[in-house]
Structures are given as structure tokens and as C-alpha cells.
């Protein structure tokens, strides 16, 4: 009784100095921005704890946690690129077919006997090129991101089919196989690659002038322009980043499935958008982190893995993953 009355009288918004701990926690959890940053972490911990409690012997094994990290690595990289475009209030709907386009160029180079590093490079360049086209059309011609990248989704997947003649190219390479299934200290190589990209992206976004400009352009393009920031350059740059990362992720995809597939994998796109929203990046631009979407990518894969491990029928999995995405988006109201 005493405690409750104390709790209800103590916190006052003006007397911020003498806020006790509970009061501070309360005002924190009432702040919508706190939730946009931390909900994904809470949800991730909850999902791990939930499946860990239901199936400790199956879910919480090194083998299985390793699987989750492997599964999350490609979505994490794509989500990083997507975060950059969304931070400028844009969106890149072409990521899945950009990745396919990168994979197909990789596959062509590989079948023509190019060394592996050149294959990786050409795949990344192919993705960068698609991103550059996206950025130039969006920024120079001032056309809606949604429409341009939706068009590019089709263009890039068409280009991938034309280049590959619709045929998968088998890529069997010892080093790629090691990349796909190897690990060090139980951390899979694929996740290490993804994590390096996440850390670099975090540094670029929060510790460079370019990063500040990205936030400025996303937050208020007019003031950004008034401050002398080239909105066009920043816009082009974020799509180049998204395209390059999608092209690079093609290498990881090829390492996992052992071939360059000509048909686009649309789950990649849906996953990246879901991760960005769950990760607390505002769809209106100017607000967000890199680690949020990264944790969200882990969360989505943990959810999918956990449901499979405990044997939830496939139909209910579609339902539950969709519900989690909508529910979290409803909780994280980042609109201004």
C-alpha cells in the first residue's frame, strides 16, 4: 500500500531533479522514442526466453543458436542497406532482385573461370550499379522512391533472367563452402561478415559527416538544403549503399545454396522492410539506428527457427510472423 502511494505521488514532470528510480523508469517507458529503440531488444529477449522455456533441449543448443546466426546473416546485411534508404524517408523495394542480379553476374563470372575475389567484386559492382540507377532516377528526376524501386525490382529480376538465360549456375567452391558452414568460437563466419558490416555502418552513420547528413536529409530535406547539404548526393549515396550491400550479400547467398539462382527471392525484401520497421527506424526518415534493425533481423529468424523447432505447423508460422511484425509496428509508433 505504502509503496503504491509513494510511487503515484513522487514523480512529477517539473521536479525532474528528485525523480526516484521508479519514476524515472516510468517516464522512460512512457516515452514513445524509448520504445522505438528498445522494443526490439525486449521482444528479442522475450522470444529467446519463450522458446528456451518451451524447448530448452532443442532451441537453446549451440547447434541451433548457430543456425539462427547463419540464417540472420544475409537478412541483416540487406536490412543495413535498407536502413540507409529509410533514414532518408525513402525505401528500396528492389533489394531482392538486386541481390539476384548480383548473384547471376557472380555465377557468370565463376563459370567463365574468374578467380573468386573477382566474382565477389563483380557481384558487388552489379548491385552497386543497380543502386546507382535507383538513386540517380529518384534524386535527379525527383520521382517517388516507391515507384522507382518497384520498377527496378522488375527490371533487375528481368535482367538477371536475361543474363542467366533463366538457368541456375552451379558454384562449387571449397572456400565458399567453408564460409557457409564454418565458424570460430561458435560464431559462424557468415555472421562475422554481417557483424563487421553492421559495425562499419554504425560508425558511418553516427561518427561521420556523411552520417549526420543522412539524418539531416531524412529529418528535414528543406533545412538540410539550406545548410548546404546536397540532398541529391545523399539520396544517390544511400541507394548505392543499399545496392552494393545487396550485391555483396549475393556472395553469401551463393555460398549457402551452392548456386547462382536466376529467380528472385522476395522473402529477402519483406524481411528487410520488417527488420527496419521492427528495429525502430522511422519510415518518415531522420530517426533510427543500425543495431535496431540488426537485432530485428535476429529476432525474425529466431521466431521462424523457434516455431520450426517446436513443431508449429507451417500454416500457423506465416500467421504468427506476420502478427508479430504488425504488433510491433503498432507498438513502435515513430511517426512525428
Amino acid at each position: 500500500m505504502k509503496k503504491i502511494s509513494k510511487k503515484s505521488t513522487a514523480p512529477s514532470s517539473e521536479g525532474a531533479v528528485d525523480l526516484n528510480f521508479l519514476g524515472r523508469v516510468r517516464s522512460k517507458i512512457q516515452d514513445p522514442f524509448f520504445w522505438s529503440d528498445w522494443l526490439v531488444v525486449v521482444a528479442f529477449v522475450f522470444v529467446i526466453a519463450f522458446f528456451g522455456a518451451i524447448a530448452p533441449a532443442e532451441f537453446l543448443t549451440l547447434w541451433n543458436l548457430n543456425n539462427i546466426l547463419v540464417a540472420a546473416s544475409i537478412p541483416a546485411i540487406i536490412a543495413v542497406g535498407q536502413t540507409f534508404t529509410v533514414l532518408t524517408a525513402g525505401i528500396d523495394l528492389s533489394v531482392s532482385s538486386t541481390m539476384t542480379f548480383g548473384a547471376v553476374t557472380f555465377g557468370l563470372a565463376f563459370t567463365n573461370g574468374w578467380p573468386l575475389w573477382q566474382c565477389v567484386l563483380i557481384g558487388t559492382i552489379a548491385g552497386t550499379f543497380v543502386g546507382l540507377l535507383n538513386g540517380l532516377i529518384i534524386a535527379k528526376r525527383k520521382i517517388n522512391d516507391f515507384i522507382v524501386t518497384l520498377g527496378m525490382l522488375s527490371v533487375a529480376s528481368g535482367a538477371a533472367l536475361v543474363l542467366s538465360d533463366g538457368k541456375p549456375r552451379q558454384v562449387i567452391s571449397e572456400s565458399l563452402a567453408t564460409l557457409a558452414i564454418g565458424d570460430k568460437a561458435n560464431i559462424p563466419y557468415l555472421m562475422m561478415v554481417a557483424f563487421v558490416i553492421v559495425v562499419v555502418a554504425h560508425f558511418v552513420l553516427f561518427h561521420t559527416r556523411f552520417g549526420t547528413h543522412v539524418f539531416a536529409v531524412g529529418g528535414d530535406p528543406e533545412s538540410a538544403r539550406a545548410m548546404g547539404i546536397s540532398v541529391v548526393k545523399i539520396k544517390v549515396a544511400v541507394y548505392v549503399i543499399s545496392g552494393a550491400l545487396a550485391g555483396f550479400a549475393a556472395t553469401l547467398a551463393i555460398s549457402r545454396i551452392g548456386s547462382a539462382e536466376p529467380a528472385a527471392n522476395t522473402s529477402i525484401l519483406l524481411n528487410s522492410v520488417a527488420a527496419v520497421v521492427l528495429g525502430g527506424v522511422s519510415l518518415f526518415g531522420g530517426r533510427g539506428t543500425i543495431f535496431g534493425p540488426f537485432i530485428a533481423a535476429l529476432l525474425l529468424q529466431s521466431l521462424s527457427n523457434g516455431l520450426t523447432v517446436i513443431g508449429v505447423a507451417a500454416y500457423y508460422q506465416y500467421l504468427s510472423i506476420g502478427l508479430v511484425v504488425i504488433l510491433s509496428a503498432a507498438l513502435v509508433r515513430t511517426d512525428k
Partner: protein
Amino acid sequence: MKLNRFVKVALVAVASSSLLIAGTTTSTAATKKLKSIRVAAVVKGLDNPFFIGIKEGIEETALKYGVYANVQAAPGLNDDIGQANKLDSLAGQNYDCYIVIPISSNNLSQAIGKITKKKKTVINIDSPVDAASLKAAGGKITSFAGTDNFAAGKAGGEKMVAAIGAGKKIGLIAGLAGNVTSAARVDGFKAGAVGATFVGPVNADWDTTKALDAANAMITANKDLAGFFAANDQMAQGVGKAIKAAGLKIPVYGVDGIADALNEVKAGSITATISQYPYVMGQMGVEACIIAAQGGKVPAQTITPYYIIDSANITAALTNKSTRGYFPNQTPPGTYTNPYTKLIKKN
């Protein structure tokens, strides 16, 4: 004293229970009881009735023998990596056997390699896993059960030429670009339709509407088309609509034998469907798993049956109903060989 007694009781309990466990494990190692066999399956997207048919076959056969089955599907239509993730998630679990249908011929090879390392059985049904990529990943497939798509297409080609006569022009509608199944069916049809000339194949991505559009375009450009072959039933339905709209009376053959297609064969808007029996594939997959778990010798490869269903045998086909009705043709309206059933030990 009290504590001591408690400890003693606990010790006895632990000892006896571990004995019990030891006892059961040794006995199952010799001949695995049906009830203790656990099967996991990863199929393709369940947005296609064909794979629902396979799922049904797996689940009902498991139920019949009393084994446990967990059927999972790829999260999306072309989600090759997502499907590999699913198999990875199941690979670490306590299953005796894994039934797989890869989305592309390569995408599950590495996951299968991991399962082989754990000395578990993998049974491949429907679409074959590529041998080279499987070898590179160190994977092993104990048994394959699937349709010979080339032979099924070829039978369709022969039948159509017999019906319309040689030297005619036939339109070809294929599935997704680069899809092995689609290519085998179309190539088989061409090999069977001796003396015919072909328009296409045009890729309609297994989709009814896209096939309708493609067939419309082909009819407009080629007034002398004498027939159509579509690499699956959903596309054949689209072609059937296009033929009707153009006021033509030419045959269209599909492949698969899905519920809607059988109804349309009865109604006459599709001429024939070269029926496959996904239910039988699922059934054979589970049976192969049981044989392997019981330590028996599993047949390495089995060709599952296909039947051409047209106006002559549609009534028989339609009476052969599934309990859940997704793929009405559970088993063919005739005889077929199943080398697995007789090898299972009932215990």
C-alpha cells in the same frame, strides 16, 4: 538421518531410471519400435496444392504406422535460403529421418551434408537434389521417390499427336524460367509429339493469369495452332480460358492432376491432365524413412506413378477422393508398384 534417507531414495530413483533409459535405448537400437520413429519433412511452398497433397500423404501415412511426423515448408515461393534455414533448424533435432523436396536442385545440399555428418537418413522425394552439389557438401541421399517428368511429358506428347494427327502446330507454356521440372516436362512433351512443330515455350511462371495472357498472344499470332501443352494444371486452366475466349476447339493438356483441373476435365474446359500422385510420394517418403530406421535396406530409387486422366477415365479418378479433398486423386485409378510397403516390419 532424514536427509540421508532422502538422498538414498533419490539415488535409487536416479539409478533405476537411468537403468530404464539404458534398457530402452539398447532395445530400440536393435529394432526401432514404430512408435518411437520420428520423421521431419521440409517441402516446398504450401501455396501449391501439389505440395499440400504431399504433406497430406506424409501426415496420413505417419498416422497409419503410428510414427511421428513434423512437416515444414519453405517460408515463401522462391525462398531457397529460407528453406535451407528450415532444414538446418530441424537437422539438430532428435529425428531419425528427413524427407526433403528442394526448391532449386542445389539449395538444400549443405543442410543435407550436415545431416549426413550426424549419421541420419535423408529421403528425397519429387524434385531431385543435384548430385554434384550434394557430393561437394558431403551429403548422402538414401532413397529417391519421384515422378519421371520427362516420361510424363512424353506420354502427353504421344497422346496429343495421336489425337490431332502429325505435322500440326502446338503451343507450349512452361513454368518458371530455369525450373528443372518445367524443362523436363516440356522437353518430354516435345520428344513425344513426333512430327509436330512448336510455338514457344513461353514462361508463365506456373501462374493461371500469366498463362492466359501468354496463350492469348500465341493464338493471335498463330491462327493455325492445333493444341496446347502447359507444364502444370494451373497454367492449363488459363490456357483453357484463352481457347474458349477465342472460340476455338483445340485440346489443352496440363500436368499434375489438381482438384480444379479434374473438375475442368469433367466439364471439358481442359482436355487432359497428366496426373501425378503427390500423396503417393509423401507415403513412399515416410515408408522409406521407416525402413531405414528399422535398419532395413531401402530401394535407392523409385519412379512414382503418372496417369493421363481424360474424359475416358475421369469418373474413376474423381471417385478416388482424398479425406481432406485438396488433391482429389490420392492414388491412381489403376495399379502401381510401391516397393517400400512390403519392406516395413510391423512391430
